[in-house]
Amino acid sequence: MTGKTPIYLDYSATTPVDPRVAEKMIPYLTERYGNPASRSHVFGWDAEKAVEDARAEVAALVHCDPREIVWTSGATESNNLAIKGAVHFYAGTKGKHILTISTEHKAVLDTVRELERQGYEATYLDPEPDGLVDAARFQAALRPDTVLASVMLVNNEIGVIQDIETLGSLCRANGTLFHVDAAQATGKVAIDLSRLPVDLMSFSAHKTYGPKGIGALYVRRKPRIRIEAQMHGGGHERGMRSGTLPTHQIVGMGEAFRIAREEMELENARIRRLRDKLWAGLSETEEVYLNGDLKQRVPHNLNVSFNFVEGESLIMAVKEIAVSSGSACTSASLEPSYVLRALGRSDELAHSSIRFSIGRFTTEEEIDYTIHLVKSRIGKLRELSPLWEMYQEGIDLDSVQWAAH
């Protein structure tokens, strides 16, 4: 092992900024500092051009018109703007029901819950045990008054890829708007909005080697989708999102998405080899379970439950690697992951899960080291575990009557 520890395997929480992105941003932090809304001088025009060039790069990655891209402060704001903005605008004509999936990101779930507080109705559909949404069950959950459905393209915890095309077609047939959270998808799966039946799509820069604090929302123009602004002020972004545009961050997102467009094919092949190697290594150990479907999944993600190991001690035992147990946004809490529970995993298995997420700067040596480290630490933890001992002795743990204390 020649590299430094801890080894970063938490690319789904956030990615480092690609050095090329950082270099492109810095001039806009120094001499090119205009406010893109300043229409009276060269500083403002220069910043505005940079913003529009970046908008074109974001549009190019997902095959849409640059005029369909609205800048936001990140995917959380994009999800809030898409869901509240569209529901508020269309509920009067279509109805008050919202359909989403129980494994969505908190930024979607909490937004829908807020709308429930405001008097809307919601259905939170569970996915199948492999993490994928069943199209027939989705169709059955659509109601005549379903104004909007929201489904993420790639799940942040288990990396499964939903069949957006099929689900979107079902929404179209039902006259329901379709929002897709693609924060975890850009640079990992090809997205072609020119043919996908999607009306609104959320993006983030910092999951794709761009900076934090910037994201975008795709708002379809043909047929034109209207949204009610959620942040009001100077009327930036054609009135859909007010607030001074952070030029350097926008430039960074544009460059990050350009790099993703040009390099994702080669990069994903390399990352897939590393991920498959990691899984091959870890699955040599007994009582290790993969969470989520392996085929319909981005190559970057491996989410594994280690039976007979306690979750918190597991994370402490492998502190040479930076990984997540549950998604970063909820890891402040010790509750087992709601995503894994929605797949039907027991609390014990949900608790003892690790999400390994691999990225652009992960090396083969790091994967080799990780396999070795995790296997040996799991062995040590199990040596200390009475449950593991009972399991080894062939006792069916589900039949044990535990004494209450």
Partner: protein, 381 residues
């Protein structure tokens, strides 16, 4: 870009020390502050240090600082978040507020709220009689900016909050333009909420804060992962927050020098403007030390600004956020300035790095352009 930059109320260049502090977080931003591993903890510590720096700059407690994506979001969070908890009543806003306060306030009408505008006098100062009249209706929230972005005119916030307190109304102030240009004390002003922005004080675009008295209940406007104690979800923009923190600390430490530098430049500028018979808006009121908003009655502001840009001077014709429109400034309209004069308005906002030579050169260029534009106007007639 070799132009002389006189548009610091629109945005400022990043202080090189702030850039240095941000670069490690821009280049190696591994670590989501909510992640529990070492990378995540490091990010969290950086944010907490910045929170202390922001709090210190306005005399608040760090726990009162909620980071946002900027001043607009802070204003929206204050206006929409505070009112979301309350039964519909009246919100009172001054007639000269930034659109980031006025627009969210007006959306409250859909939820059954009354929106009252508090008038200002000819100098741009809040009309206290108008405030008293407005507050005769049951009022939940009053929003008055600390300093106006166009005229730079300051308001007596302590008097506003004293008046509002007597009728049980909360006070929010948009202090985006005041921060870094004058001393601000959140507690002494008696307000319950205050909006701040980084990019007006030599910090980065993309960071701001709402300073909030914890006795005020507030509902978030962004829902999700529950960051910022649930008041503002979304992965924290660490690099920008770190930059905002240092920019606040530098502004606090260097306030006296910065003020002294722009005060003398503005005196020189306005002496020249008087010689050219300019009308200077809000001149008799206490103002930010860096701002001069003026007009020449027979000259279109937009035309003059474009002419000055060609001569290498970056100035504004109104606030950047509304530079698109050719409507006269709502601030000047509220001050009772005739549309013909208001349409001539040009704003110079001075800042770090501006020199006496630049002001002198500007006055020369201005005089030339006035002569040229007037002679063209004479031919056109």
């Amino acid at each position: 870009m070799n132009a002389v930059y006189f548009d610091h109320n629109a945005t400022t260049a990043l202080d090189s020390r702030v850039l240095e502090a941000m670069l490690p977080y821009l280049r190696l931003q591994q670590g989501n502050p909510t992640s529990r591993h070492g990378f995540g903890r490091h990010a969290r510590n950086a944010i907490e240090q910045a929170r202390e720096q922001v709090a210190a700059a306005v005399g608040a407690h760090p726990s009162q600082v909620v980071f946002t994506s900027g001043g607009t979001e802070a204003d929206n969070l204050a206006i929409l978040g505070i009112t979301a908890i309350l039964p519909p009543a009246q919100i009172a806003v001054s007639a000269i507020e930034h659109p980031a306060v006025l627009r969210p306030a007006h959306t409250l009408r859909d939820r059954g709220w009354q929106v009252a505008e508090i008038a200002v006098d000819a100098d741009g100062r809040l009309d206290m009689d108008s405030l008293h009249t407005v507050l005769r209706q049951p009022t939940a929230l009053v929003s008055v900016m600390a300093a106006n972005n166009e005229t730079g005119v300051l308001q007596d916030l302590a008097a506003v909050s004293e008046t509002a307190r007597r009728v049980g109304a909360f006070v929010h102030t948009d202090a985006v333009q005041a921060l870094g240009k004058l001393a601000i004390d959140f507690h002494a002003l008696g307000v319950q909420a205050m909006s701040l922005s980084a990019h007006k004080i030599y910090g980065p675009q993309g960071a701001g804060a709402l300073v909030l008295d914890k006795r005020v209940d507030i509902r978030p406007v962004l829902h999700g992962g529950g960051q910022e104690k649930g008041l503002r979800s979304g992965t924290e923009n660490i690099a920008a927050i770190v930059g905002f923190g240092l920019a606040c600390e530098l502004a606090r430490r260097e306030l006296a020098q910065r003020t002294a530098a722009v005060v003398s430049l503005r005196e020189r500028l306005e002496a020249g403007l008087h010689r050219l018979d300019a009308t200077i808006f809000g001149e008799r009121a206490p103002r930010l030390p860096n701002t001069s908003f003026f007009a020449f009655p027979d000259i279109e502001g937009e035309t003059l600004v474009m002419a000055l840009d060609r001569r290498g001077f970056a100035v504004a014709s109104g606030s950047a956020c509304s530079s698109d429109s050719t409507e006269p400034s709502h601030v000047l309209t509220a001050m009772g300035v005739a549309p013909a004069i208001a349409r001539g308005a040009v704003r110079v906002s001075l800042g770090a790095g501006n020199t006496a030579d630049e002001v002198r050169a500007f006055l020369h260029a201005l005089e030339d352009e006035l002569t040229r534009l007037r002679s063209m106007a004479a031919i056109a007639v």
